[in-house]
Symmetry: C2
Subunit: 361 residues, 2 copies
């Protein structure tokens, strides 16, 4: 969705840390060449690498003017507030960017291009507002068409939101490509779309057509690729987002699943004001739940685990992978820290085996 070569200023005001600035971190990890600066006045003067561990020497600056001084020519909103609206404090920054002649890229649920004030500013300055979450015009009701592809479809699924499903999918795609497999990454969220320049934010599609939008993307990708790796969203046990997750399963019709989990996390991160805590089940239970849910339309099996060990030291991270391998009898790795090799090998092994059958309920 970058659309052209850009020098992005990534807006992450007051929240440029690894936990809250998911979009910024994703772009910094996979498209650092397109980032000129990060905006967070509370961390100005540091580097991206110091704040979030990726992006190296890319500077963190206080405001739009300072980002311009770093050569920025576009603004991308790099944090995603729950609820998806535009905080008042950001509106002035977005307007200032437009007035400088910058395009603005936004992954908010609220479409900035539909805001008369901002749309007017964009028109006056001859620039564009790109709403990454804008759903496709086409309205497809999914009908398991992706199940008929020759390509092997892989979906990353998870124990919660923000555990590394996009990262696992990107690392797996890159590793498959390195091994000579024609692999395609299908982006299903705003960050993935920024990185891949293509995709649909499934969480912003009207429910009736959510699975259909994914089906369209997967069928399109499957025409050229041998393996289609679909970025997962949400979690079956998440009270807010489980419908999105099931739409992905039903629309993508994967045969292989990669189970993603943040090592050490034991409760689902629910919305503010949640009435109760929802525990994350054991990984073996999660595996079973995803395989049962997949089989409602197209049987699939979990072929590996991607552990996000960001919070652990190296030794504990290795131990966590080892414990998981032992518990599930499946390859387990932190694809960022230790590489996606074991996951790629498992996917390619399944590809050789052919179709699989429904689990016993």
């Amino acid at each position: 969705m970058l659309g052209k070569r850009r020098r992005l200023a990534l807006l992450a005001e007051a929240r440029f840390n690894p936990f809250e600035a998911k979009t910024a971190v994703g772009v910094l990890r996979y498209r650092p060449d397109q980032v000129a600066a990060v905006i967070d006045s509370t961390r100005a003067g540091r580097t991206a690498g110091e704040c979030v561990g990726v992006g190296g020497a890319i500077p963190v600056v206080a405001d739009i003017a300072a980002a311009a001084a770093c050569g920025a020519d576009s603004l991308a909103i790099g944090i995603a507030p729950q609820g998806g609206g535009l905080p008042d404090a950001w509106r002035a920054m977005v307007r200032e960017a437009l007035e400088r002649g910058w395009d603005v890229l936004s992954g908010l649920h609220v479409f900035l291009a539909d805001d008369p004030d901002l749309a007017g500013a964009a028109a006056r300055h001859g620039v564009r507002i790109l709403d990454l979450r804008r759903p496709p015009e086409r309205r497809t009701v999914a009908a398991a068409r992706a199940a008929e592809l020759d390509a092997l479809v892989v979906l990353t699924v998870g124990s919660d939101c923000n555990v590394g499903k996009m990262t696992a999918a990107l690392e797996l795609t890159q590793e498959l490509s390195r091994r000579g497999t024609r692999a395609a990454f299908v982006a299903t969220g705003q960050t993935g779309i920024l990185i891949a320049d293509h995709g649909v934010a499934v969480d912003a599609v009207v429910s009736d057509f959510a699975a259909g939008a994914i089906e369209d993307l997967v069928v399109e990708a499957g025409r050229k690729a041998e393996v289609v790796v679909v970025e997962g969203q949400g979690a079956l046990h998440h009270p807010g987002y489980s419908g999105v997750t099931l739409s992905l399963l039903a629309g993508a019709c994967p045969r292989a699943l990669i189970l993603c989990h943040a090592a050490g996390r034991d409760h689902i991160r629910t919305a503010d004001g949640a009435a109760r805590e929802i525990p994350i089940p054991r990984l073996s239970e999660l595996k079973r739940a995803y395989e049962l849910a997949a089989a409602w339309v197209q049987p699939a099996q979990v072929v590996g685990v991607a552990l996000n060990t960001h919070d652990l030291d190296e030794r504990s991270a290795r131990a966590a992978c080892e414990v998981t391998r032992h518990e599930l009898g499946l390859p387990a790795t932190d694809p960022v820290r230790f590489g996606a090799g074991p996951l790629a090998a498992a996917v390619l092994a399944l590809k050789l085996k052919g179709r699989i059958h429904a689990p016993h309920a």
Copy 2:
């Protein structure tokens, strides 16, 4: 959503039969006093009762002018084309209704009030276009808040679309009221909204907020009612709509489920161009699937089965209920044909028992 007392003309052109005119049939069954005529030029001259078995002597007429002669003062679109668009042939009829000074009520996915041509006609004639599927302004991410209600929440779930989930919910609500229980019906689709004058079409809500919209409705209803009966949508095994179904389960946090099935149907009705047929599992498997999926957020149990025996004669219908009772060890009835008594009794029995526990996975 009728908003006031109306004399509706129900548009069901060329499709006024029990299988395709779902919205028209629902309104005729539960709000016949508000219907002046049904428009279907291919069946003009017959009565509603002759065509769909409900609505008695309400006439079927050829066009808007004939409906006006029957006293109609509003047009309601009574069929829901898959994909949700406005067929060209209907546009002229909608415009004609507006020009006669009628309000137009539409459950299409495409919002007629956003169509400049139709909105202009409505403005010129001082009438309103009511889009029943328009989602609420408020964007809530569900967080299992409905699980904390004192009220018992019941959700109707099904083996497929169009098996009688709305009807079962309405009949159950009426039967509970008859028995002196304060019961509230929560409408989640355009037909239910027409009948109940309130609700949210969950299938038209952006995926991230679908469960949240239901949570808001259920929490609101639970403040006044002892039993909240939520209209289900879709099916967990439906490739197009399973995400909607799971959003309902997660948002409503029911403790009781009524499993709905059309007797004799063995395959899911998928979209045109579906690549494969998807068999409907045995009812015992469906029961297990719904209970497992519910338990991801809030444990629930299937307490009864609503069989739609429309296609069977009386004796076969009774036999089908008997077989189901035996197979599942649960009350089974066709709530339209034989009444919702057994379902109401099962719900009230659960209400006395209190909270239940997760099924063993």
